[in-house]
Symmetry: D2
Subunit: 344 residues, 4 copies
């Protein structure tokens, strides 16, 4: 059965398995201090154009968000995010369990608006009772967002300027960053991103790795004793090199970028096919997640041959659905899907 | 200068000071195990019509909310509340700092609507990803609310029914409970309240005590090892009898109820005076907090002779303000205020 | 019945009740921003010889320790203390519940030894796995200790020097500080203490107040946004002036010092009487807590006429006991106790 | 260079890589709900003789300890462990960061003694101030311990009996469980272990997996909503099947047991060689970790050709060292080491 459920249904890019196999009997120190991790770190910093940055490899997205946010905030500070942010909805309260409040602002197809952020901060510091409230301590956004949408370079620049004005670190969740970088509609390069925020992570789990997220920190002093914090969060992999080898592979010969590019182009083929059939997009996503509104009978027919996600509750007459491509989606898969669609 | 700023500008009801003085040289055990605390506990349970309940005396409201909520929730559970709830806005993230997410629903002049609660719970348990989310673990409401409004008996009954259906404890923040009980518009007696929720607290700080809140638990098994949790939260007063003596006083000769009644009747005189002058209410509050919308020139004139709170940001032409009466407000104070108002 | 159980069996010094009564109908702002709190703050800083310090008034000891320690430590840091420290034994895990590990060192009658501290720190920073461990973040001691013993000025100087060498704040728990300052064996004045640590608190609860602890911070920048942290810990008293008035009273006409002096001199009379009868001290305490080893038959006889605490488990033949004097102990009480002792 | 540093210097057992490769393009649901994870779960429960148990797969040891302990304890409860326990020393305060105190008892070569446990619990519940203390909520031991030592079946039985008497769950950290099960000195089978505790984990990271720990719960009701707690701790692997496939491999054809057996037999060869040369054991370990006391000149000579760990600080004349074998250690490696040793 065709499966467009999500971007983590399969193992990993074969090159990663091959490199894990080749290096399997090397002996090295643990905890990310091995040569592969160091090389991966250097490859990433070079691509980011960061000379004095630091890279930390963690295992998964929720873990990464929780650890980074806990490192950036003091006890009385919270994190500003869109109400649809992954940390707000689908991380089982990890951030609050580390003691921090989420300060949610309206979400526009997953995006935070600079004007909302600016107004919130102005109001907060004008409020005479603000000392009785959680202090804004940082800003969290995701690129692409949970709805597949993208911040443009000018939007990101505007948000970062506000952050700087208020001395708030800007952190970007890049769980699917490869699919942003590979989108033709994207104008924020990896180097741009590195210069337009303080900390971000390059998602591996959803972009071809078995697992793994690479946290990039522009100024390592922002996260003092971060190694120990990673350990405290249970996020330090003993055989750290397994993360190193994966990112070494992804950042050799631009594999990470190629993966993103192909997956997005296949996603856009899917979009075109749905639109040709007269189904409208639920969200205007230029990346590997595509959302459509389907009449329920179409949905039911499609589900007999294809796995995909119902997005939100089933409606009375029509419902929103999500189809996702990833590093392993083939042209053949997409052709089959389109053929099925044609027949409906 | 006249002061209608809030309900904690003065010390305490003179009878409390007198009783503290009379008992000052008695020697007793600490931590609320003394005879005065025991007697206060019995007086309260009797008034609540609770035979098998338990009462715990804590010092302040934020502390009480944080300790009770922490006692009622497991690690993966959050507390449902109106977005305007005191725990959500003005407790500096105390609840999150204990690890719990607030699950906020819309606020209607401070109140949670049963239909919103019901819909939220239905949606949550229908959502296939709900295991990745913070679980609803209890419901928090306040009576009166932060806007002075009241739940009616039928509204409370409806909310409690939903809570029971979903096995969620209902907790009522009664920081100003005396001013609900003393309102002629109120149809929820203390005994009603005790039967229509699982845990609530009777606020002392704002209703005539120096400080102190009495947590009433219908079934003590709901809060196992609660004494130790109170201690852990830094909320266990060494000289616990000072809380006991205060509540003993407040619940002798219905002092608590009388305080509420007088303050509310004075508040309604104020309301009538403002309305007579043509100023509209910002919120329709039947209790000791009154909110008005005033033209800015009126506001400025009034502020020269009276202290009160600007409620939210100053508007361009008119602004919302709050005036509060309390246990110590005199008819004379109110007459003076009305006289000032007349002259404007 | 005579009661030497502890130093919080009665209300408060009568002068405090009198001042609370006199000021009862003044109206003032809340949260410690009132004139009484400000004056108390100034009185205390003057006595401490601190020009640029800050004073915060909190309600109780566990709460104070938890809030200050949480303010001084980052997430990966722990607090070094003697294994007998109050924070380690009798605070129900408040510090851990805020996320911080206690790094316990041996206790010598309640005291931490400079050489142990120094060795621990040397070992820690020599350990190649120290990045996998909780980082030492501050040092906690108490003056007097939980066993009534005192640090001498030279001991304190030595400990503080080590702290400074390792950039660790030194925090002194002064729950019973008045009884240290009032001891003839003490050579650490309040001004000395203020210069030989970074943060300490002046205990009110056990030294004549109804409740209340005054946190003195030498350099307020060490505890940024501390007001909000106090609120988050549920430790901000709405009617903050009640704390202000109490400390204003205690620091007027040296009341705090007089209370300590009298209580300690009475305690030493008790000690002399026990020693005259041939009973040895369990701990050599020069302050208001006295510990004796009594044959069980003496203990039983004494308990018929006097309340005091059994210190630890009852032994087979003899047991340790504690008798405590406080601000309210009278010469008459002590005379009666000695008379009873004589008759045994 | 020969490397006996630790048991996580290499990748994983080749069969695991092979199985990851074979299954790489299968598509399956995430989060451990896939067929491989289900089969691995069944294989493990069968080996444990647990019909109604449940298995959860997590990524690493600290994470597993933190999540399980957080699931078993209430807010006011702590975990009893030996002072040398991994959770106490080398987990960067993860347990405290989740709010729980460690209640440490003496360690005897890594082991907790039943009599100490029993005495501690008796004293605790006899102490009149115990309500002011962290409540004992569970017991943590490791098999083998951090010093390679083993609990015998009778020791474990005795400890578990005490736990049951006090209604405390017993949790066993099996980070190196394979090397206990493979030791000839061991009399606790996997089935025994499953019946003599409530929760334990089967360590994969150090016993041939790339990473991964399998938590076995006898009665799933002991860890309600554990899936959500795992997510909250950032411990839920998106591609959960990667854990499933690894444990499926380890529990097929008794691979896990064979790995343990070979590694331990090689470790005992090393031990015999050191003892033959007249070097005494620092700890009497019957498992894959071997500890010796070496004269410093021997240590220095050996370090020129072999990597191993200095155990604790270097002594003046002699020092303790640790050598570790693992799933990948070959007879050839050990022969070389012995040859080097002979020449010294």
């Amino acid at each position: 059965m065709l499966n467009f459920m999500c971007d983590y249904t399969r193992g990993c890019h074969p090159q990663i398995l091959e490199n894990l196999t080749t290096t399997n009997f090397e002996q090295s120190v643990g905890y990310g201090l091995d040569p592969h991790s160091k090389r991966a770190c250097k490859l990433i910093l070079d691509k980011c154009g960061l000379k004095d940055g630091q890279v930390y490899f963690l295992v998964g997205g929720t873990q990464t968000n929780d650890t980074v946010i806990d490192g950036l905030l003091s006890k009385v500070e919270g994190v500003i995010c869109a109400s649809s942010g992954h940390i707000s909805v689908h991380e089982a309260g990890a951030i609050e369990s580390s003691g921090h409040k989420l300060l949610t602002l309206p979400s526009y197809e997953g995006k935070l608006k600079a004007c909302d952020l600016s107004q919130y901060l102005k109001d907060f510091f004008n409020d005479e009772t603000s000392e009785h409230m959680v202090q804004p301590g940082m800003v969290y956004i995701s690129q692409p967002t949970e709805f597949g949408t993208l911040y443009s370079k000018s939007e990101l620049t505007e948000i970062y300027k506000i952050c700087k004005d208020y001395h708030l670190p800007l952190y970007v969740d890049g769980a699917r960053l490869g699919y942003a970088l590979g989108a033709s509609a994207n104008d924020v390069s990896l180097e741009d991103l590195a210069s337009l925020c303080d900390v971000f992570y390059i998602g591996g789990t959803k972009v071809g790795a078995l697992f793994g997220e690479a946290v990039v920190v522009k100024d390592p002093k922002m996260l003092p004793k971060f190694f120990t914090l990673i350990k405290q969060h249970g996020a330090l992999l003993a055989k750290g090199r397994i993360l190193g080898i994966q990112f070494e592979t992804l950042f050799t010969d631009d594999l990470y970028f190629k993966i993103g590019k192909i997956a997005v182009s296949l996603a856009l083929q899917i979009r075109k096919a749905f639109e040709s059939k007269g189904f409208r997009c639920y969200v205007n996503s230029p990346t590997n997640q595509q959302f459509f509104v389907l009449p329920n009978e179409v949905l039911d027919a499609l589900q007999k041959e294809v796995l995909f996600e119902l997005w939100g509750p089933r409606g009375e007459k029509e419902s929103a659905v999500r189809l996702v491509t990833d590093w392993a989606t083939s042209q053949e898969d997409v052709d089959k899907l389109i053929a099925i669609l044609e027949k409906l």
